[in-house]
């Protein structure tokens, strides 16, 4: 097409030698055909005013326009354009996000006010419940005391007592002190003074004894419907001490989860709590101060005596106060902690224990070590070592080094789909929408999993909020001393993962903030030698670290993500190096069987692969394509089975930047790799798909469509091929056919193919098809309402 050379309207700037202006360059002559009747007008309006007359229709419009003042003409133009230009909103409209957030903040600040208010109001009620607790606990503890005949039991209790006391106040330093137990107990008894209103002094305590049903929760954290909420740590149960007996309390195994699900789930209250505790892989569950602990009340003078008497070794007391003189008032006030979420005390001895507890225990500790291994920073290391070695002297931990998370927002998420239904289909239709909400499931991990797997992530988010509130890390508790257990951190992980899944990145960032760089001493097991005796490593799950590292890139801070990911990568490499040098993961000299070492190496290699994946994804997001490609290539050594997919992905990256030649090279490599492996059908599809993409890059939609259709011959339900074939049809000017294909896909198996990308394409085509796209979009909404959970991104329906 020689005649189609672009016009030289494009003048390069010249720096050195003189270049005369080339405005006199002839513009292309080839396309100037239409210059008869209009020429005069065009010269008249040369410049800004353009003749827009539909000249072939020779309408009067032409004259009108040329007579009009330019301004009013432009107005008219704009008027018409407003309604006719299809400007499709992106499904992830950032403006909408902002709106949502703004609204959220309003609610947050409002609820903040409310909470203070409520705290005062609910106080009398709480006292009432304190009395209840007193009665029940009193009975229970004294029974325990009387039973404490075996040495094991008493030592166990002694240990429990050690933890029973950690008293926390809002002071800038934590002190681990050794103290005379009796004395502190006496103080507790004597100085029961009026409570510090709304400023609860948290108490770390154990909760293993509460085997009597307690009164149900009657006061709940602000903004929640009354609910029986199970705290992760309150579920205790009689079985724990029993089990401890049999297990000699050296290792604290966590019973397998599968076991749990087998007998759990039927009776909602019991199994959930059991599940929770067993999950912690520790028998002693530490309740959190902010959750409102009834422990102080439980201790009748008699039982205190009994317990302290059996407490012969002076266990360290975790005391958070700026100086010892504050202790008395702190402990005193702690007695009267507002009992916001009353312990959910349905405790049942439902837990059966594993068949061979001892073997499981050993095994678990091996697995624990493998999975929990992490290398703290030098500074954190020092603190952890001093805690481990200097149990009998004071260890100061700066408050800034402690993790004090709390919910940053507590508005109920609700059902996004239903909201849209109310707006577009009316109330009656919306009432037909049935999805699980946080209220409808068990208030436990079981319910949480149920919500996640049914894609009700918003409800799941609500539930994590409740569970964390029950743990004392609820709304507004950020910055208040607290303690961590495996479960609470797992809950945080799930919550933050859900926020990311829901695209609520800012919220996730806010709630991540108290966790710092996930390296604070109280996020390691070593920090709690009495809760997790002998256990080492990170309480923060590895997946949470990945999440934490990945998050900033979604908030335009990709560089931060890279920094964090590279830090993780370095630690993974170091751990692998340790393992290969015959050391344990953390570099200590522990004998590890070669089997276990191999398992560890495998785990950490796959984790390293996971981190590199994130680095590559992040680089891709930053549009650093060359680096991203290098990273993806390097994943192949960790995940060799993914080589064809990775090479195809790299090919698509090149295609995306327009480098079709290099893309083709990679696609050819895929063919070579595929020849070596079995997996015939999947490979065949991949090769066809790649060829189709290459044709797309060469603007050959016909050929691309043919290839996508070939994939469909092999696998008719292939969503990607279906969708892509439909997209090709549109570019070929076959709107109706394209629509038919996509609609077919959605009807075929709505549960699977109501995907936001497919729906986005479909609604875009509806908009293109007719001015009555709204009806069809509403029909789609109804389809979505039947199958999708509350987290479905309804924006892809572009309902407006």
């Amino acid at each position: 097409m020689e005649s189609c050379q672009p016009a030289p309207a494009f003048d390069p700037k010249e720096e050195s030698s003189v270049i005369p202006d080339t405005t006199d360059e002839p513009s292309p002559h080839t396309l100037q055909t239409e210059v008869t009747a209009n020429q005069e007008q065009e010269t008249l309006f040369q410049g800004d005013n353009i003749d827009l007359g539909g000249d072939s229709f020779g309408s009067k419009d032409n004259e009108d326009i040329s007579e009009d003042s330019p301004l009013s003409f432009m107005d008219r133009l704009n008027d018409q354009m407003m309604e006719s230009v299809i400007i499709s909103d992106s499904p992830n409209n950032s403006e909408d996000d902002a709106g949502e957030l703004g609204c959220l903040q309003d609610i947050v600040s409002k609820s903040e006010d409310e909470e203070e208010h409520k705290a005062e109001v609910s106080l009398p009620r709480q006292e009432q419940s304190v009395v209840d607790a007193d009665e029940t606990e009193g009975v229970q503890v004294s029974r325990d005391a009387s039973e404490s005949s075996s040495i094991e039991q008493s030592s166990q209790e002694g240990q429990q007592n050690g933890k029973l006391e950690p008293q926390v106040s809002l002071e800038p330093a934590i002190k681990v002190t050794v103290e005379n137990y009796d004395e502190s107990m006496c103080k507790n008894q004597t100085s029961s003074k009026p409570p510090l209103k709304g400023d609860p002094i948290p108490v770390c305590t154990i909760f293993s004894q509460g085997n009597h049903p307690k009164s149900p929760v009657n006061s709940l954290p602000a903004d929640y419907e009354p609910q029986i909420v199970k705290s992760p740590s309150f579920g205790g149960g009689l079985e724990t001490p029993n089990k401890a007996d049999s297990l000699n309390n050296i290792v604290q195994p966590s019973p397998s989860l599968i076991k749990f699900f087998r007998d759990g789930g039927s009776s909602s209250n019991s199994s959930a709590s059991d599940f929770f505790d067993s999950f912690t892989s520790s028998f002693i569950s530490v309740s959190n101060p902010n959750a409102g602990s009834p422990v102080q009340e439980q201790l009748s003078p008699q039982s205190t005596q009994a317990q302290t008497s059996s407490h012969d070794t002076a266990a360290p007391l975790f005391f958070l106060g700026d100086n010892p003189s504050d202790k008395s008032s702190a402990t005193a006030s702690s007695v009267n902690i507002p009992q916001s979420p009353k312990p959910f005390s349905q405790i049942q001895a439902a837990f059966a224990g594993s068949d061979d507890p001892f073997a499981t225990a050993l095994n678990m500790s091996e697995v624990d070590r493998r999975y929990d291994a992490w290398l703290p920073s030098e500074e954190t290391m020092k603190i952890l070592i001093s805690i481990a070695t200097q149990q009998y002297s004071t260890v100061f931990v700066d408050k800034e080094k402690l993790t004090m998370p709390g919910l940053k927002f507590d508005n109920i998420q609700g059902d996004a789909v239903k909201e849209v239904m109310v707006r577009f289909l009316g109330e009656p239709a919306a009432t037909t929408r049935k999805v699980l909400t946080a209220d409808m499931v068990e208030q436990s991990f079981v319910g949480l999993k149920q919500l996640i797997s049914s894609k009700n992530w918003r409800a799941a988010l609500d539930l994590t909020g409740r569970l964390l509130t029950a743990h004392g890390q609820g709304y507004g508790k950020s910055g208040q001393p607290t303690s961590h257990v495996t479960d609470s951190l797992q809950l945080w992980f799930v919550r933050l993962a859900l926020l990311v899944k829901l695209g609520m990145f800012q919220n996730a960032e806010m709630e991540f903030e108290p966790f710092g760089n996930l390296d604070q001493p109280d996020l390691y097991y070593e920090y709690y030698p009495h809760v997790y005796p002998g256990r080492k490593g990170s309480m923060i799950p590895f997946s949470m670290r990945v999440l934490h590292a990945e998050l900033p890139q979604y908030l335009m801070k990709a560089q931060d993500s890279l920094d964090r990911l590279h830090n993780m990568k370095a630690i993974c490499l170091k751990i692998l190096e340790n393992l290969e040098n015959g050391l344990a993961e953390d570099g200590s000299m522990i004998n590890i069987t070669s089997e276990n070492r191999q398992a560890s190496i495998e785990l950490w290699r796959s984790r390293l692969g996971r981190v590199i994946y994130s680095v590559a994804n992040c680089l891709l997001m930053m549009k650093e394509y060359v680096l991203a490609v290098d990273m993806y290539r390097s994943i192949i050594q960790y995940q060799p089975e993914q080589e064809p997919q990775l090479l195809s992905g790299i090919g698509r990256i090149f295609l995306q930047i327009g480098d079709t030649k290099t893309a083709e090279k990679y696609f050819q490599d895929v063919v070579k790799v595929c020849q070596k492996t079995e997996n015939g059908q999947q490979n065949k599809i991949m090769i066809l798909m790649n060829r189709a993409f290459l044709h797309l890059g060469q603007n050959n939609f016909t050929e691309a469509h043919k290839l996508f259709s070939e994939v469909l011959k092999i696998e008719p339900s292939n969503a990607v091929a279906n969708n892509n074939a439909a997209v090709c049809l549109l570019y070929l000017g076959k709107l109706k056919e394209s629509l038919k294909q996509l609609e077919g896909l959605v009807q075929q198996e709505p549960k699977r193919y109501l995907h936001e990308s497919v729906l986005f394409n479909l609604t875009t085509m509806y908009e293109l098809e007719s001015s009555r796209s709204m009806q069809k979009k509403q029909a789609l909404l109804e389809a979505v309402a039947c199958t999708e959970g509350d987290s479905f991104n309804v924006q892809c329906l572009k309902l407006g």
Binding site: C4, A9, R610, I657
Partner: protein
């Protein structure tokens, strides 16, 4: 579709309000589709959700099966907005006319024109009338146009049709968009310094090409199409074996606002080289041809206007060097060959003077007659000189005087030589 049909006869003076029309016109710009990217969230088996997250990822149709962590998926999504359009790219658009009514509509003519600031183009593939359109059916057209102008463009879509009652209807819609400049190109010429190149008048062109769009741009081709006087050598690859390795390394693309330098060497073709000495003023060097691609092979192409270069001013008499050693020994005489060309329109009678500088000492007689030199002719001259200072020395101090006009031309810094001591033994 059929060939050219006749134009519609009926005219509506005023377009009816939109809702009263039986047909709806919709236009969508067809930029290349994009690949859907997902946000993979994973956990390990031991974490609270167990295999739930992985399961969700595997079930998600937009993830890559077998490599769910790869965030660049295979699912194509249609363009989400109009986007930007740049000079040299192809504007493609889907035009759909849909019968929203419940009656058959007849004699439909859809016409798409593109109005630029300088011209009006008809983009419809066919202007033929469609005889009838049943309810809920469409007339589809995909138009393409390579954008050749910067600034406001307006797509004018006009639809005329006849209702069942025989009423002739007509409406138009306007779609305005701006065409932007994709690249910033700066050029710079370098005249090869003295030495042998002056014989051939070799010129180097540096072209700085900056991507001023907001997306990465793959430079498929950047070539210099020389004007008839020159032949060109691209200096953007290093030849190793059979393959040329690009000087840009693995970066095959330009990030937004990135600039890349391309270098070309231009030599006048032999037939013009003869007259090289007399090339004066502005000469046309050639033009740059740039082809780029962006998302999924969206292609753009531009050519610059003719690049022009002001030939270096040689004055009336040009003195160039034909031969000079690069390294000479200290205080040892060496020879250089000069070429003196009369660039003026008249005959000259030249006298050569040689002035010594601090380091350069000319051997031979200063003030010798070179004789008459007619316009455009040249003479070769062998001169002897020595230097008294080590290091890189500049050859200067030649003076030519035209005795007719009593005008003196000075030639300093003609070339450089490296002066080394021949007596210096390496080991001492």
């Amino acid at each position: 579709m059929q060939g050219k049909g006749l134009q519609d006869t009926g005219k509506m003076d005023m377009p009816l309000p939109k809702q009263e029309h039986l047909l709806a016109l919709k236009v969508m710009r067809l930029t290349k589709p994009t690949l859907f990217t997902n946000v993979p969230v994973t956990c390990e088996d031991r974490d609270l959700p167990g295999d739930l997250f992985d399961h969700l990822l595997k079930e998600d149709p937009s993830t890559v099966k077998g490599a769910e962590l790869l965030n660049l998926g295979e699912m194509l999504t249609l363009p989400q907005n109009f986007g930007n359009i740049f000079l040299g790219e192809t504007f493609s658009s889907y035009i759909s006319v849909h019968n929203d009514s419940s009656q058959v509509v007849k004699d439909i003519v859809v016409k798409a024109d593109l109005q630029t600031s300088s011209q009006r183009l008809n983009l419809s593939a066919s202007n033929a009338a469609v005889s009838d359109l049943k309810p809920d059916c469409c007339i589809d057209d995909v138009i393409h146009h390579e954008v050749k102008e910067i600034g406001t463009h307006i797509l004018v879509c006009a639809v005329s049709y006849t209702t069942q009652t025989g009423e002739k209807m007509y409406f138009r819609k306007f779609f305005k968009f701006q065409v932007l400049k994709p690249l910033d190109v700066k050029t710079k010429f370098y005249n090869a310094e003295s030495d042998l190149s002056s014989v051939t008048d070799e010129v180097f062109l540096e072209a700085q090409i900056q991507n001023i769009t907001t997306s990465p741009m793959f430079m498929e081709k950047v070539s210099l199409e020389p004007s008839i006087m020159y032949s060109v050598t691209e200096l953007n690859a290093v030849n190793k074996g059979d393959e040329g390795i690009s000087t840009f390394g693995k970066m095959t693309y330009l990030q937004p606002m990135d600039t890349r330098q391309y270098l070309y060497s231009l030599k006048p073709k032999p037939e013009f080289a003869e007259k090289a000495g007399v090339i004066k003023g502005v000469t046309v060097i050639g033009k740059l041809d740039i082809v780029w691609k962006t998302n999924l092979g969206e292609r753009g192409r531009l050519q610059t206007s003719q690049l022009q270069r002001m030939a270096p001013g040689y004055g009336d008499v040009r003195l160039s060097l034909e031969a000079i050693p690069d390294t000479v020994n200290l205080e040892e005489p060496f020879d250089i060959t000069c070429k003196i060309t009369n660039c003026s329109e008249r005959t000259m009678d030249l006298v050569l003077e040689m002035c010594n500088t601090n380091s350069i000492h000319w051997c031979g007689v200063s003030g010798r007659q070179l004789g008459k030199l007619s316009p455009s002719s040249s003479l070769h001259l062998s001169l002897k000189l020595l230097t008294s200072v080590q290091g890189l020395q500049s050859v200067s101090g030649l003076r030519l005087t035209d005795t007719f006009l009593k005008r003196t031309y000075e030639y300093d810094d003609i070339a450089h030589v490296c002066v080394v001591s021949s007596h210096l033994k390496p080991e001492s």
